[in-house]
Every structure is written in structure tokens, then in C-alpha cells.
């Protein structure tokens, strides 16, 4: 466990000692701010029974940032080590592969979570300055939509970051790693639009694809529905993806 924390510390430093981290955080905060404003305007012109938070989380630009930012955060993790050859000193020290995989994964996940703090803050701040009835009558800090929505964003983020780790472990080229994970995430995201994009598929397939699509899970969670199925689904797929990452990194050991 101690080794894990030493590695985690090093990975977090690698993120936060670089100016790029702050630029990314600032840029994402700015974009989220714009999306937030748009959502407020939307509610101003149309009558809707949805919570402001709900409107924001189901915005397409919000999702575009989501699937673009994860590859950016994770592309470096293993590719860089493979390119520099630093896996060799790391794994010939008394360090086990899983400790390294978890350390990198959690560092990326923490960074990812930090990126979403400003947008939660916007919601809370907005309430302070306007009448609570304008945001659906319920204060964000007491609204199931708020916790459910961001809880689901974190849950989906766990899975997405794991996909990023896996792509990064596949190649020593950061750009290729980013492209691989972006492609996977984009396809996965588009599952939510399968009804629009491929309406000629048999209805059962469409239903299944929608059932596993992340946007559907967020919609449920943001309307305050607590469902254990997506929780089990995302945690188990995260575990599976990390296990695959471990396998890819140790591949040199298996091809005897």
C-alpha cells in the first residue's frame, strides 16, 4: 500500500507541477461556464419541468468536453513511460505492476474529478444570487438531481479514465493513445443517439444499445433516480478495463 501512495504522489505531482494542468482546468472551467449560461438561457425562454442541473448535464457540448478531455488526461500515463523506457527501472524496483496501474489510474481520476468541481460550484453560486424557485424550487445542495447527476458523471468518468489508461498502455505514442481512447469514447457516447443515427436496426438492438449508453444513465440519475444497475455496470467494466491494462503492460512477461 505504501508503494501505491508513493507512486500516486509522483503521478499527482507530474500533473500538478506542470502549467498545462492549470491551463486545462481553466479552459474546462470556462467552457463549462459558457454551457451553464446557455442552459440558464434555455430555461428562461422555454418552460420546462427539468432542473437546471439536468439541462446542463444533457447538453451535447458538455458531453463533447467530457469525451475530449479524458483522452487528453490519460494519453501520457503509460505511453510516455514506454517511450522513455522508464518502465524498466520502475518495474525492476520492488514495485508490482498493479500498484503502478492503480497509482496512475487514481491520479488521472483525481485530476478528472477536479475538472468538474467548477461546474458544481457554478450551480451552487447561481442559487446564491437568484431566487431558488428559478432553479426548480429545490436548492442544489439538497437536490437529488445534483448529487445523482454528478455522481453518475464520476461513475462514468471512472470507466472512461480506465479506457484512457488502457489505450495509453497499448502504444508508446501519446497521440495514437489519445486517438484510440477518443474513438472508443465517441462511439460509446453515440450509442445514446442510435435511434437517430441507425433507425433501421431491429428495435431490440436499439433498446439494448440505449440501455448501456451513458447519456441514458445520466438522464436517469439527473432526474433523481438511484439505480444500482449502472453502478455495478460501470464498476465492473472499470475493473475489467484495468485488468486488461495490467495484462497489456505485462505482455512482455507472458510471451515466453
Amino acid at each position: 500500500m505504501r508503494t501505491f501512495f508513493i507512486l500516486l504522489n509522483r503521478e499527482l505531482k507530474a500533473y500538478f507541477q506542470s502549467i498545462v494542468a492549470y491551463i486545462v482546468i481553466a479552459a474546462v472551467a470556462l467552457l463549462h461556464g459558457i454551457i451553464f449560461l446557455r442552459s440558464v438561457k434555455e430555461l428562461k425562454t422555454e418552460t420546462s419541468s427539468l432542473h437546471l442541473n439536468h439541462v446542463m448535464l444533457l447538453n451535447i457540448p458538455f458531453w463533447l468536453i467530457f469525451i475530449l478531455i479524458v483522452p487528453l488526461i490519460t494519453m501520457r500515463l503509460f505511453s510516455e513511460e514506454q517511450k522513455l523506457g522508464t518502465l524498466e527501472p520502475l518495474l525492476t524496483a520492488p514495485v508490482q505492476t498493479w500498484q503502478m496501474v492503480f497509482a496512475k489510474y487514481f491520479a488521472a481520476l483525481i485530476f478528472y474529478a477536479i475538472l468538474y468541481l467548477p461546474c458544481m460550484f457554478y450551480m451552487i453560486y447561481f442559487e446564491r444570487v437568484v431566487d431558488a424557485s428559478a432553479v426548480g424550487g429545490v436548492s442544489a445542495l439538497r437536490s437529488p438531481s445534483f448529487y445523482g447527476g454528478y455522481g453518475m458523471i464520476l461513475l462514468i468518468g471512472m470507466f472512461f479514465v480506465a479506457i484512457g489508461c488502457f489505450s495509453s498502455a497499448m502504444t508508446s505514442n501519446q497521440i495514437i493513445a489519445a486517438v484510440i481512447s477518443f474513438t472508443i469514447l465517441l462511439i460509446y457516447f453515440l450509442l445514446g443517439y442510435v435511434r437517430l443515427l441507425a433507425s433501421d436496426l431491429p428495435p431490440i438492438t436499439i433498446e439494448f444499445l440505449e440501455y448501456i449508453s451513458p447519456i441514458e444513465h445520466v438522464r436517469d440519475a439527473a432526474s433523481g433516480l438511484v439505480d444500482t444497475r449502472p453502478m455495478v455496470y460501470y464498476t465492473s467494466f472499470t475493473a475489467l478495463t484495468l485488468a486488461l491494462t495490467h495484462y497489456v503492460l505485462d505482455y512482455r512477461k507472458w510471451k515466453v
Binding site: P89, L90, L91, T92, A93, P94, V256
Partner: protein, 312 residues
């Protein structure tokens, strides 16, 4: 300290290591010598648990490299080829990180980092980013990392690769110094390095061990291809022909000609000394002679003999 038995490593298509066995005793400095691609790095990677062997076994300090992998790694200070390092860390920070990974903490860690920087003369640059360091300093950081937790065994893969002559001398003397309280296995393709630092040499070529022994003894074993240098004045073609006619001379080659003087190198059969004959010949032909010497066999000759003989 190290015990390797019938170690083989096959990649699809070719065999990198073919049933290699050797032992290294405690306190020895052993040179692992071979041309590029001979299987040196593969062997070292197997010993450090980075790669598994296809067959055979390896033991370090009585522990099986694969069954007790963590305990084994605790006992090895390994410096990989080309010294991969994190460019975004400062030297001291990196060494603290590595020391902590190897299980040190608190005061011990601080002392060990100070000690390692002292030994490798890194104190003045300890705040520098690793990415800005010259090759020589990177090499020293790699060495400092390898010896930080005072492991009983140091495995260094080409520690002087890419250094300038002064730096090579520094690293060599550091290795000698370390040899006083560590067992060291260094791989290299630079011969003087081995002759100067190692008590024993393992020569490997194309995945097979060609010879093991002290540098001096190895030279003795291969007296077979002794060479004689002779510098004479006269017509080089005639001289070459006559020298070739001498018994026990295998090959004559003209090394250099300066004015009328010609320097020939003769390859001579095993344990034969042809210098007397050459002298008699020169007198008979009335060729002025200004050098006649037999070259002691160096490790370089052994190396060439063992690793090149298919081409000769």
C-alpha cells in the same frame, strides 16, 4: 550471489539466449562482454525480473528470481541501458522517490539520498531538472539510483555508454570503489573497461557463452593466434612473399608503409615463435630491420577470436 542455469530466451523466430549457465560469487566484479545483440541485455533483464526466461532458472542470493521476485528486486541495484529517467523531476526529488520505492523512509532515506549524491558527485546539481542534464550526469543519476539502498548486487548495463573519455575514467574508478562492498555485474562491449575493472569476464556471442575466466588467463588460452610485428626496408612485394613462405606463418599483412619502411603483421600458428626465423631471413636478404616484436595477446584478441571466427 548469482547462479544461472541453462537459461534460454526465444523470441518468435530467433533465439536470444541459448542455454546460458554461469555463477558470480559474492564480492566479485564480473564483466559481461559481447558484441551488440549478443544477448547481454536480455540476460540482465531476466536477472532483474523484467523479462521471463523461456526455460532455465536464475537465482540471486539463493532466491529464485521468479518465485521471490520482490525480495530479489530488493537486493539488486539495476542501471538499465541508456539510463531511462523522468525528465520532469529534479535529481534529489528523483532519488528520494526511488529510495522510497525501494522501501526506505524518514531519516534513513534522507541519509541514503545524501550518500548516493555524494558518491556520484551530484551535490552541486541536485536541484537541476533531469531533462536538462548532460549524458554524463544522467549516467551518474542512474548509478546513484542503483546504489541508493545499498543493495548487495549491482547490475549495470553499459555504464559508460556514450560518455567522453574523462567521464569514462570517473565512472570506472567509481565502479572500482563500489566493488569493495558490492558484487557487480557490468555488461559492456568496450574491452579496456573490462580489463581495467573486472576480476572475471564472461564472453557471450549469439546467445551462447564463449568463455569464462580471468582476463589474463583467457589471453593465455588463445595464444593460438599470436601476432608478430616486423618493420623492414625493401620491396614490399618481395618481402611479403618471402615472409609468407616461412613455416608456421599463417597470414602476412602489410600494416603501413612510411618512406621505404614497411610494417608487416604476421599471424602465427599456436605456440610458435617465428621471430628468430624472421631475423635470419632479414639478414640473408639484407633487409634493414628496425622492429621485431611479438604482441602479447590482449582481451581484444580473445574477443575478436571468439566472436568473429566465423568470418575470418
Amino acid at each position: 550471489m548469482i547462479k544461472v542455469e541453462n537459461l534460454s530466451k526465444r523470441y518468435s523466430g530467433h533465439t536470444a539466449l541459448d542455454s546460458v549457465s554461469f555463477e558470480v560469487g559474492r564480492g566479485e566484479i564480473v564483466g559481461f562482454l559481447g558484441p551488440n545483440g549478443a544477448g547481454k541485455t536480455t540476460t540482465l533483464r531476466i536477472l532483474t525480473n523484467y523479462l521471463p526466461p523461456s526455460s532455465g532458472r536464475a537465482e540471486i542470493d539463493g532466491l529464485d528470481v521468479f518465485k521471490d521476485s520482490l525480495a530479489v528486486r530488493q537486493r539488486i541495484g539495476y542501471m538499465p541501458e541508456n539510463v531511462p529517467l523522468y525528465n520532469d523531476m529534479r535529481i534529489k526529488e528523483y532519488l528520494r522517490f526511488r529510495g522510497a520505492l525501494k522501501g526506505m523512509k524518514g531519516r534513513d532515506l534522507r541519509a541514503a539520498v545524501g550518500d548516493a549524491m555524494e558518491r556520484c558527485a551530484l551535490h552541486e546539481v541536485r536541484r537541476k531538472m533531469i531533462g536538462t542534464l548532460s549524458k554524463g550526469f544522467r549516467q551518474r543519476v542512474g548509478l546513484a539510483d542503483a546504489l541508493i539502498n545499498k543493495p548487495p548486487l549491482l547490475i549495470l548495463d553499459e555504464p559508460t555508454n556514450g560518455l567522453d573519455p574523462n567521464q569514462i575514467r570517473e565512472v570506472r574508478s567509481l565502479i572500482k570503489e563500489l566493488g569493495e562492498d558490492h558484487t557487480i555485474l557490468i555488461s559492456t562491449h568496450i574491452l579496456p573497461e573490462v580489463e581495467m575493472t573486472c576480476g572475471r569476464v564472461i564472453i557471450i556471442n549469439q546467445g551462447k557463452i564463449q568463455a569464462i575466466g580471468e582476463p589474463r588467463n583467457l589471453a593465455g588460452q588463445i595464444r593460438s593466434a599470436g601476432t608478430v610485428r616486423v618493420e623492414l626496408k625493401g620491396d614490399p612485394k618481395v618481402i611479403e612473399a618471402k615472409l609468407s613462405g616461412l613455416p608456421a606463418v599463417r597470414k602476412v599483412s602489410l600494416e603501413q608503409s612510411r618512406e621505404d619502411w614497411h610494417l608487416f603483421v604476421l599471424k602465427v600458428e599456436a605456440n610458435k615463435d617465428v621471430r628468430e626465423r624472421v631475423d635470419q631471413l632479414a639478414r640473408k636478404e639484407q633487409w634493414p630491420l628496425r622492429e621485431l616484436s611479438r604482441k602479447g595477446v590482449s582481451l581484444e584478441d580473445v574477443f575478436a577470436e571468439l566472436t568473429l571466427h566465423h568470418h575470418d
